[in-house]
């Protein structure tokens, strides 16, 4: 059952994208591909100059882009890193992304970066702490940001609500958007023994702006989120279930390791497109206003 929100917040349906990875620079420049947009890892381009920024500018001329960060550490109890946010804004000014995202997690305190997306306790105290920081970040960037649900392997005895209740509370308090990682929902649902459909039903649908899909490694009694393999069938099924609930959402395949030739990822992306097709033709009532014009966009829009 779909609850139609009175004022949908996400009206930017970009289509189907891929994460920009160095081995694909040349292939992306040489030929046209069935890729509607690219997601960049923000930190890889928050650098002074050289080859990464050179290719970024050339690729930006061909593809819409979104920025995805890994070091915002929105849940940390350290003060917000204003230098980081200044550099993030400089990059955003350079490439004018459709949106900016990071993870609902913490990555370190006392000035350290553990380079991991560490889980937060699902408490009201934490939700209000995170929401207040999100508001500051949104003020500094001059736009709403998207927060992504992370894969987790441990949960705290301090937690007093479900992950989706926590996400909903943060979103509501911060007025931010969501990047729903369907693979992460699957991984965490296995590791913490919950029904992934409860997760999807529990998050605020009107705030979901983007979906991530990826592969993982199954170790028998737990799953590690590795992004080094194709999306598995149960995750595709969960994606279809999510679209039935959410309607069309900009979707991306995320591969961070064991990166195959671009063509393989384009084929995998075609599967997402195929699964989403029924929802593209029949957007949910609250999505119809903008979709009809946006679906007419060419594969590689020049923005």
């Amino acid at each position: 059952m779909i609850t139609s929100p009175p004022h949908p917040l996400t009206d930017d349906f970009l289509g189907f994208g891929l994460g920009l990875r160095t081995p694909h620079y040349q292939a992306l420049l040489d030929d046209d591909h069935a890729i509607d947009w690219l997601e960049i890892i923000s930190e890889n381009y928050m650098i002074p100059g050289g080859k990464p920024l050179h290719y970024l500018d050339r690729l930006r001329a061909r593809y819409p882009m979104v920025m995805h960060g890994v070091s915002l550490s929105i849940g940390s109890t350290d003060a917000l890193d204003l230098d980081y946010l200044r550099d993030l804004r400089t990059l955003a000014d350079r490439i004018e992304p459709a949106w900016i995202s990071d993870h609902l997690c913490w990555t370190g305190i006392h000035g350290q970066n553990m380079h991991d997306l560490l889980p937060l306790p699902y408490t009201e105290e934490t939700a209000y702490h995170v929401a207040s920081r999100v508001r500051q970040v949104q003020d500094l960037l001059g736009r709403r940001i998207l927060l992504e649900n992370v894969s987790s392997y441990a949960s705290y005895v301090d937690s007093c609500m479900s992950e989706w209740e926590f996400i909903s509370l943060v979103c509501e308090q911060a007025d931010c958007l969501l990047l729903l990682d369907v693979n992460n929902i699957y991984v965490s649902s296995y590791n913490h023994a919950f029904d992934p459909r409860d997760f999807i039903a529990g998050v605020p649908a009107e705030r979901v702006q983007q979906i991530h899909l990826a592969g993982h490694h199954h170790h028998g009694d737990y799953i590690i989120d590795t992004h080094d393999a194709p999306v598995i069938d149960p995750v595709w099924d969960l994606y279809a279930h999510a679209l039935a609930h959410l309607g069309p959402v900009a979707t991306m395949i995320e591969r961070d390791d064991q990166i195959p030739p671009l063509i393989e990822l384009v084929e995998e992306l075609a599967k997402a497109r195929q699964i989403a097709q029924p929802y593209l033709n029949h957007p949910l009532p609250w999505q119809q206003a903008d979709l009809s014009s946006k679906l007419g966009l060419p594969m590689a829009m020049s923005v």
């Binding site: 650098i47 890193d81 380079h115 560490l118 441990a154 949960s155």
Partner: protein, 261 residues
């Protein structure tokens, strides 16, 4: 300290290895399927593996020199001693050369190779800038030349080498057996920079190294000529010609971004 701050402090101490797992395990929900200690171990192991992998990515030639086992062992020691404060893992590992100097004193070429490899990698994404061209100097009146000073473009680094590090790097880069480490009779100066999109390096002879160091320190063209004269047995005219040829070569290599008087 808030509950959240206290929890994060305990978790980070656990990841860094300074807290016994049992102290932190009490904070983790056990649901019967996997124990709290195994759940935490996933994060504990991933932290180390990620940083070690970052070092292996930043130092591929050093990895080949040391081999998997020794590299892993040294990288583990480095990770235990040096936490990351960087937003990007690519910047983790700047002190590895210093660390190898003390952790592997019997193989000094390893520390020097690490330094070389780090500098080469970081010329890669230094700031872009417009370069000074030989033609830009054509309009400078002859009488002004003595007072000209130059600024190097941001990617340029000069590295003193005491070992046959470049020969070792070349061999390993081409998947060949590296030559035995040999201490050079005289320390060599190696120049590293990025020209357009690619990093380059070359060794400098004593005259060029002296002149280049002077230029780097902001010396005037006349002072650079004096430096050349102190290294070469030449009259004044020849000295100026040598210095001018060096300058022209540096301009051609894209090392200088501006001049000032």
């Amino acid at each position: 300290m808030s509950q959240l701050a206290e929890l994060q402090s305990a978790f980070q101490s656990y990841l860094g290895g300074s807290t016994l797992a049992v102290d932190f395990e009490r904070r983790i929900q056990a649901d019967g399927k996997i124990s709290a200690s195994r759940r935490l171990a996933i994060y504990h192991d991933a932290y180390r593996l990620r940083l070690i992998e970052a070092l292996a990515t930043s130092y591929p030639i050093l990895f080949k020199l040391l081999g998997d086992t020794l590299f892993q062992q040294l990288a583990q020691g480095y990770v235990a001693q040096y936490p990351s404060a960087f937003r990007n893992l690519r910047w983790y590992g700047a002190e590895l050369a210093d660390y190898l100097g003390t952790a592997l004193p019997q193989h000094p070429v390893a520390a020097e190779l690490a330094d070389f490899e780090w500098q080469l990698a970081h010329a890669f994404d230094a700031a872009d800038t417009a370069l000074l061209q030989l033609a830009d100097l054509a309009a400078v009146p002859a009488e002004d030349w003595a007072g000209l000073r130059f600024e190097l473009q941001p990617s340029v680094r000069q590295l003193p080498l005491r070992w046959n590090t470049i020969a070792v790097w070349h061999a390993l880069n081409q998947e060949q057996v590296p030559p035995s480490p040999v201490m050079l009779d005289q320390a060599e100066s190696c120049l590293i920079w990025r020209q357009q999109l690619d990093a380059h390096f070359c060794s400098l002879d004593a005259v060029e190294a002296c002149a280049f160091t002077l230029l780097q320190r902001g010396a005037s063209f006349a002072e650079i000529c004096d430096g050349v004269a102190s290294h070469a047995e030449a009259d004044d005219n020849e000295t100026v010609m040598v210095a001018a040829r060096l300058l022209a070569n540096w301009l051609e290599q894209g090392l200088i971004c501006r001049f000032y008087r």
